[in-house]
C-alpha cells in the first residue's frame, strides 16, 4: 500500500507539491505558535524570578524550624530575611508627611534572589554595612538629609539603635512605598548568623516545583500548622503549577485559543478543499481500482497512506522553519532591548524585563505532531469517505453522477439575457456540479472569512500597542520663570533646543467634583479592572467621587494662541477652561474620564480641606496618627465653564508617569488671569479659614523641550545644575515604545501576511485544479465551435459568479464572527477593552485580492486548455 501511495504522489506531481506547501505552512504556523508560547512562558517565569526568586514563603520562623525546611528533600534553596523594623521621621513643616526607613537583613541567598539591583557601590558584606534604595530618585535622601556612599546613617527605633555605613545604592527594593504623605525607603544589611530567639521570613525554592503543595504539607506537619505560608502565585502560574484560572492562564487560553482556532480553521479549509478537488480529479483511477476488486476500506487506506507520507516529510521541515522564524523574532526583540541605555534601561531593570530565550520542549513537539496528524486526518476524512464510495460502474459508464432531482425547463432566461450563451453554460455548470462548486465556493468563502477575522483582530491589537509620537522628548522643572528663561537662552545657544514651551501649573491639588452620571462608563470599567495606578486611588469613594486635576496655562503667548487655534477657539475668557477628558495609560489603554460636554460648569475643590470630605472619611482625616488637624468650615468650590471638552491637547500631552504621587488624571487649561484668580481665591480662603500650612499658593513650571540630542542635553544639565532640575529624558522611552510597537507590528503583520498567503494558495489550488479536471469538456466545446473568446467569456463569468457570492457570504461571516470574538473577550476582560471596529482597508484588500487571485488562477489554468490538436483529448473516453 505504501509503495502504491508513494507512486501516486510521484505521478501527481503538481497536486502533491501544492498539498506539500500547504501542509508545511500549516505545520509551521502550529509549531511557531507552540515555540512562541513556550518562549513567552519562559520569559515571564524568568521575569518573575528576576523580581523575586522564590516559590513559597514561611513567615516568622525560628532557627529550628528553618533547619527542618532546609532538610526537606524537595527543598533546593532557602533565602532568609530578618525584619529589623522601621525608623520614622515626621516633617516639621508638614506634619502629615512621614518618611520611613525600613531595614531588613538579607542572607547571601536573599541578596541573590530578592531583586537587589545595585546602582552604585556594592552589596553589604557584614552586619555594619547597608545598601539604601534610591526609591526612583537620583540621590539618597532621608529626614531632610542627603547621603552618599561612605556616609554613616543612624538607624534608630524603639527596638534598636545602630550606625551603618552606606556601601551602595539600589535602584529600588520591594520595601519602597509611597502613599498619600507616607514614604518608605528600603535599606538592606547583611544577615550573618541565624539567632536562636529571633524570627525570620524564609523564602523557599524547590527541586520539583510541581510537588510544592505536597512538600509544604510535609513541612507543616513538622513545624506546626499555625505557621503562615504563602505562595508566589505569579511565578507558579507561569510555571503552570499554580492555581488554575490565573490571569496568566486566562490570557494564554484566550490568545492562544483564538490563534489556534484560526489555524485549525485554515488547516481544515485548505486540506478539505484541496483534497476534495484532487480526489475528484482521480475518480477514474479509484473507480478502476474498485472495478478490479479494491474495497472501500482499501481505497481509504491508500489515500490516508499518501497523506501520512506527506505529513512525515512536512513535519520535520516545518519544525526547522518555525524554529528559524521564532529565533529571528526573539533575536530582534532582544536586540531592541540591548540598544537601551540610561534612564530607560534603568526603568527596564526596575521593571525586571529580561531577554527572550528560544525554548524547545520535546513533549510539546510531540503534542504538535499529534495535533497536526489529527487535524489532517479529520480534514481529509469527508473527501476520502466520498471518493471511496465511488461506484466502478459510474466511472466505466461515465455517469456524471449529477444529482438531478427533476427535469428542468430552460427557465433561467435572465441568465441567458444578461450573460449570453457562454454565461448560461457557466451558470449551468455551477448549478449542476454542486459538489465542486461548493468546494470552490467554500474555499473562497472561508478564506475570506478567516482573513477578515484575523486581520481585523490583529490590526486592533496593533492599534492598542502603545505608540509614542511625542515631539517633545525632554522635560525639566523649575520653581521660577526667570531662571528658566536664562536656561533656555543658554540651551538654544548650545543647539540643544529645537522647540520648547512651558506649562505653568497650579501647585495646589484641586479635585474635579463628580456627580452621578458624570463618570464615563469607560472610566468605571477601568476602575473595576485590576490595574489602577496611583493617580486614581483618590478617585472614588462612595460618598464623594472626584478626580484630581492639573490646572495649568501656557507661558509662551504664541504657543498658547496656537493651541487655542488648533482647538477652534480664538481666545479663552476668564473663568473658562478647556477640559482634557481623555487619558492614555501605557500598557493599559486609553479611555474617557467624564461625561461632561462643551459648555458644562465644572466644580473644583480642595479635598484636603473640605469639611464634607473630612466628615465622609473620618478614618483618613482626624485620627490620632494623622497630625493634620481640621478645624475649618467648608471651603468654597471654584467654578469654571468648560468651554471645550477635548480628547487631545496635541503636543501638549501630559508626560508624567501616572504612578507618580504628583500626577493627576485630569488636565484643565486656563488663561493666565484665571490661574492667578484661582491662586488668589485659594489664598484668600486659606487665610479666612486660617489654614496655616498653605497661606501662599505656588505655581510650578514644566518646560518641554524638543531636542535633537537629548542625551547630551541630559549630561549638560547634570553637570551644570543651576537650580533647574535635570528633569527627564523621554527619548529612550519614546524609542523603546516605538521599537516595541515595530516588533509587535512585524509579528502581527507577518501573521496577517501568512494568513493571506495561505488563503491565496488555497483559492489558487482549488480553481487551478478544478479547471484542469475539465480539459476534455473544454475540448468538446471547442470541437462544437466555441471560439477562444467565447471560452474565455464563459470561464470569466463562471469565476465572477462563484467568487462574488462567496465573497459576500465570507465578508458577512467574517465580520459577524469578529464581533463574537470581540464580545467574548470584552466579557472576559471585565469590560475594559478598545471599541469594536471593522477595518474597511482589510475588506477592500480582501475583495481586491480575491478577485485578482480568482481571475489570475483562472488565467493560468486556462493555458492548459487546448485550442489546437484536440483529437487526443476528445478521443479519451467521454467527459
Amino acid at each position: 500500500m505504501f509503495k502504491l501511495a508513494i507512486n501516486n504522489l510521484k505521478r501527481h506531481k503538481k497536486s502533491t507539491l501544492f498539498t506539500f506547501i500547504g501542509l508545511v505552512l500549516i505545520a509551521t504556523s502550529i509549531f511557531s505558535l507552540i515555540f512562541l508560547l513556550l518562549s513567552y512562558r519562559q520569559y515571564r517565569e524568568n521575569a518573575e524570578r528576576e523580581e523575586q526568586n522564590w516559590e513559597a514563603r514561611y513567615s516568622n520562623l525560628q532557627k529550628s524550624e528553618i533547619d527542618k525546611i532546609k532538610n526537606n528533600e524537595n527543598v533546593k534553596e532557602v533565602s532568609i530575611i530578618k525584619d529589623n523594623g522601621t525608623m520614622e521621621y515626621v516633617m516639621e513643616a508638614n506634619v502629615a508627611t512621614t518618611e520611613k526607613l525600613k531595614l531588613v537583613s538579607y542572607d547571601e541567598n536573599a541578596m541573590k534572589n530578592m531583586n537587589l539591583k545595585i546602582k552604585e557601590g556594592r552589596l553589604p558584606q557584614n552586619e555594619n554595612e547597608i545598601v539604601i534604595s534610591l526609591s526612583g530618585g537620583t540621590q539618597i535622601y532621608f529626614a531632610q538629609k542627603e547621603y552618599t556612599i561612605g556616609d554613616t546613617i543612624l538607624f534608630e527605633n524603639e527596638h534598636a539603635s545602630k550606625e551603618y555605613t552606606i556601601v551602595g545604592t539600589a535602584y529600588s527594593t520591594i520595601y519602597d512605598e509611597s502613599y498619600m504623605y507616607n514614604y518608605t525607603t528600603g535599606a538592606i544589611t547583611y544577615l550573618n548568623n541565624i539567632e536562636e530567639n529571633a524570627v525570620y521570613d524564609v523564602y523557599v525554592l524547590y527541586k520539583n516545583p510541581s510537588k510544592i503543595y505536597e512538600t509544604n504539607e510535609q513541612i507543616i506537619t513538622q513545624i506546626g500548622e499555625d505557621k503562615e505560608i504563602s505562595y508566589n502565585e505569579e511565578l507558579l502560574n507561569y510555571m503552570l503549577v499554580g492555581e488554575k484560572n490565573s490571569s496568566f492562564e486566562k490570557q494564554l487560553y484566550i490568545v492562544g485559543g483564538i490563534i489556534l482556532t484560526i489555524i485549525i480553521l485554515i488547516s481544515f479549509i485548505f486540506i478539505y478543499t484541496i483534497y476534495s478537488i484532487f480526489l475528484s480529479n482521480r475518480k477514474k483511477e479509484f473507480g478502476t481500482l474498485r472495478s478490479i476488486g479494491a474495497s472501500k476500506k482499501q481505497i481509504r487506506k491508500l489515500i490516508y497512506s499518501e497523506t501520512f507520507i506527506l505529513n512525515i516529510v512536512t513535519i520535520p521541515i516545518s519544525i526547522l522553519i518555525s524554529s528559524g522564524i521564532v529565533s529571528i523574532i526573539l533575536n530582534v526583540w532582544n536586540h531592541s532591548i540591548e540598544k537601551l541605555t540610561g534612564s530607560a534601561l534603568a526603568q527596564f531593570i526596575v521593571n525586571n524585563v529580561t531577554q527572550f530565550h528560544f525554548v524547545i520542549s520535546i513533549p510539546f513537539i510531540i503534542i504538535g505532531v499529534i495535533f497536526i496528524l489529527v487535524i489532517t486526518a479529520i480534514s481529509v476524512w469527508i473527501p476520502i469517505r466520498n471518493i471511496s464510495k465511488i461506484s466502478p460502474l459510474e466511472v466505466i459508464r461515465q455517469n456524471h453522477n449529477l444529482k438531478i432531482k427533476k427535469e428542468q425547463k430552460h427557465q433561467h432566461k435572465w441568465v441567458f439575457k444578461v450573460f449570453g450563451e457562454e454565461g448560461y453554460i457557466a451558470y449551468q455548470y455551477i448549478s449542476k456540479n454542486k459538489g465542486k462548486t461548493i468546494s470552490i465556493g467554500l474555499a473562497i468563502m472561508l478564506s475570506v472569512m478567516v482573513f477578515i477575522i484575523v486581520s481585523n483582530y490583529l490590526m486592533n491589537v496593533y492599534a492598542q500597542t502603545p505608540n509614542d509620537n511625542r515631539e517633545y522628548n525632554y522635560l525639566t522643572y523649575a520653581d521660577n520663570l526667570e531662571s528658566y528663561q536664562d536656561l533656555i537662552t543658554d540651551l538654544k545657544e548650545r543647539n540643544f533646543v529645537e522647540n520648547n514651551y512651558t506649562k505653568e501649573i497650579l501647585g495646589e491639588t484641586l479635585s474635579l467634583k463628580l456627580e452621578d452620571g458624570d463618570i464615563h462608563a469607560e472610566l468605571m470599567n477601568f476602575m473595576n479592572s485590576n490595574v489602577v495606578p496611583y493617580a486614581f486611588y483618590n478617585m472614588y469613594d462612595e460618598q464623594l467621587p472626584k478626580l484630581d486635576c492639573n490646572i495649568f496655562t501656557i507661558v509662551e503667548d504664541n504657543e498658547y494662541e496656537n493651541l487655542l487655534k488648533e482647538l477652534g477657539l480664538s481666545n479663552l475668557k476668564d473663568d473658562e477652561c478647556i477640559l482634557l477628558n481623555h487619558i492614555n495609560l501605557p500598557q493599559v489603554g486609553d479611555f474617557h474620564l467624564t461625561n461632561f460636554k462643551d459648555g458644562d460648569e465644572i466644580h473644583l475643590f480642595n479635598a484636603q480641606y473640605s469639611q464634607e470630605e473630612r466628615e465622609n472619611a473620618p478614618d483618613l482625616f482626624g485620627n490620632e496618627d494623622n497630625h493634620f488637624e481640621y478645624q475649618y468650615e467648608a471651603l468654597q468650590d471654584i467654578t469654571l465653564k468648560a468651554i471645550k471638552v477635548v480628547d487631545s491637547l496635541g503636543k501638549f500631552a501630559n508626560y508624567s508617569d501616572f504612578n507618580s504621587l504628583y500626577n493627576k488624571p485630569v488636565q484643565i487649561l486656563v488663561n493666565r488671569n484665571t490661574l492667578n484668580t484661582i491662586k488668589r481665591e485659594l489664598e484668600k480662603q486659606y487665610k479666612e479659614y486660617d489654614i496655616q500650612t498653605a497661606l501662599t499658593v505656588d505655581t510650578q513650571y514644566e518646560m518641554y523641550i524638543e531636542s535633537s540630542n537629548p542625551y547630551e542635553l541630559e549630561e549638560y544639565l547634570t553637570q551644570n545644575n543651576n537650580g533647574i532640575s535635570v528633569g527627564v529624558n523621554y527619548q529612550e522611552e519614546i524609542d523603546s515604545t516605538n521599537n516595541n510597537r515595530l516588533i509587535v507590528g512585524l509579528v502581527l503583520y507577518s501573521f496577517i501576511i501568512f494568513i493571506a498567503i495561505a488563503c491565496i494558495l488555497n483559492i489558487f489550488c482549488i480553481i487551478y485544479f478544478s479547471i484542469q479536471s475539465r480539459i476534455q469538456e473544454f475540448a468538446i466545446l471547442k470541437s462544437l465551435g466555441m471560439s477562444k473568446k467565447q471560452m474565455n467569456k464563459m470561464l470569466n463569468i463562471e469565476c465572477l459568479m462563484y467568487s462574488v457570492i462567496s465573497l459576500i457570504i465570507g465578508l458577512i461571516l467574517g465580520v459577524s464572527i469578529h464581533k463574537i470574538i470581540y464580545d467574548v473577550q470584552y466579557n472576559l476582560s471585565n469590560h475594559f477593552m478598545y471599541e469594536f471596529s471593522v477595518s474597511l482597508t482589510s475588506i477592500g484588500v480582501c475583495v481586491l485580492f480575491v478577485m485578482l487571485v480568482v481571475f489570475i488562477s483562472m488565467k493560468i489554468a486556462k493555458r492548459k486548455i487546448p485550442y489546437e490538436n484536440l483529437t487526443e483529448i476528445i478521443k479519451r473516453e467521454g467527459i
Binding site: 427535469e407 450563451e421 449551468q428 468538446i780 470541437s783 462544437l784 465551435g785 467565447q790 473516453e877
Partner: protein, 226 residues
C-alpha cells in the same frame, strides 16, 4: 461538386525516435451527398483523418478542403466558426455537455454561432429521434442509445454541409446501432448531406456508398459499394 478534397495529406506525431506517421500522403475526394465509410484496423489513421477533416487537428503537410474551404489557411477563430457552421461531429462516446438538457445540447452549436433558433426544426428533430419526452432530461438520465441520438440531433440541428461520425455505434448494442445508422443514412439521403463514418464494423461500412480502407496511414483501397 466536391464536398471534400484531400491531397497528399500527411500527419506525423512526435519527433525523432518517437515519431509516428499517422497519415502518409493520403489523397481522395468526396462528392456532395456521398456516404463514405472509412475503415481500417486500430491505429490505421482513420480517426486522425476524420478529425483533420473536422478542423480539430492540423496536417503536417498536404491540402485539405471541405466545402471548398482550404482548412490549412484558417485561423483558430475561423476554424471554430467552420465547425459551428459547416461540420456536424458525432463521437463514439457521445460527448454531450452533462450540465445541459437534451434540448440545450442539441441547440448548443447554433447558440454559439448566435444564429436564430428554428423551433420547428428542433421539434421536428426531437420527433424524428424520439426525444420529445426527454427534452428536459440531462445526459445522465438517458440510455446510451438515447445519448447517441441526441448527439446526432445536435450534429443535424446546425444544418451542416458535412457530417463526420467517429465510431458512432461503438458504444451501442446492435438494435441501437442499426437505428443510429438508419438515422444517419436517412439524413444523408433526405437532406443530401455528405456523410463520412469511421468504423471498423464492416456491416455498417457496407451500408455506405463507398468504402475507403486505411492501413498504416495509407489508403489501401477505395471502392464504391453502390
Amino acid at each position: 461538386m466536391k464536398s471534400v478534397h484531400v491531397e497528399n495529406l500527411t500527419k506525423i506525431y512526435g519527433t525523432g525516435e518517437n515519431e509516428v506517421v499517422a497519415l502518409n500522403q493520403v489523397s481522395f475526394s468526396i462528392e456532395e451527398g456521398e456516404f463514405v465509410a472509412i475503415t481500417g484496423a486500430s491505429g490505421s489513421g482513420k480517426s486522425t483523418l476524420l478529425y483533420i477533416l473536422a478542423g480539430l487537428d492540423k496536417p503536417t503537410s498536404g491540402e485539405v478542403s471541405v466545402d471548398q474551404i482550404n482548412l490549412s489557411s484558417l485561423s483558430d477563430n475561423q476554424l471554430s466558426s467552420f465547425r459551428r457552421k459547416k461540420v456536424g461531429l458525432i463521437y463514439q462516446f457521445y460527448n454531450l455537455i452533462p450540465t445541459l438538457t437534451v434540448e440545450e445540447n442539441i441547440v448548443l452549436p447554433v447558440r454559439l454561432d448566435k444564429r436564430e433558433l428554428k423551433k420547428d426544426r428542433l421539434e421536428n428533430l426531437l420527433k424524428v429521434f424520439h426525444l420529445e419526452k426527454k427534452k428536459y432530461s440531462y445526459p445522465s438520465q438517458l440510455s446510451g442509445g438515447e445519448q447517441q441520438r441526441v448527439a446526432i440531433a445536435r450534429s443535424l440541428f446546425m444544418n451542416p454541409m458535412i457530417i463526420l461520425a467517429d465510431e458512432p455505434t461503438g458504444n451501442l448494442d446492435s438494435k441501437n446501432s442499426k437505428e443510429v445508422i438508419a438515422y444517419l443514412k436517412n439524413t444523408n439521403k433526405k437532406y443530401n448531406r455528405t456523410l463520412i463514418v469511421v468504423t471498423h464494423n464492416m456491416e455498417i461500412a457496407n451500408e455506405a456508398d463507398r468504402i475507403i480502407e486505411l492501413s498504416d496511414g495509407k489508403i489501401i483501397s477505395d471502392r464504391k459499394v453502390r
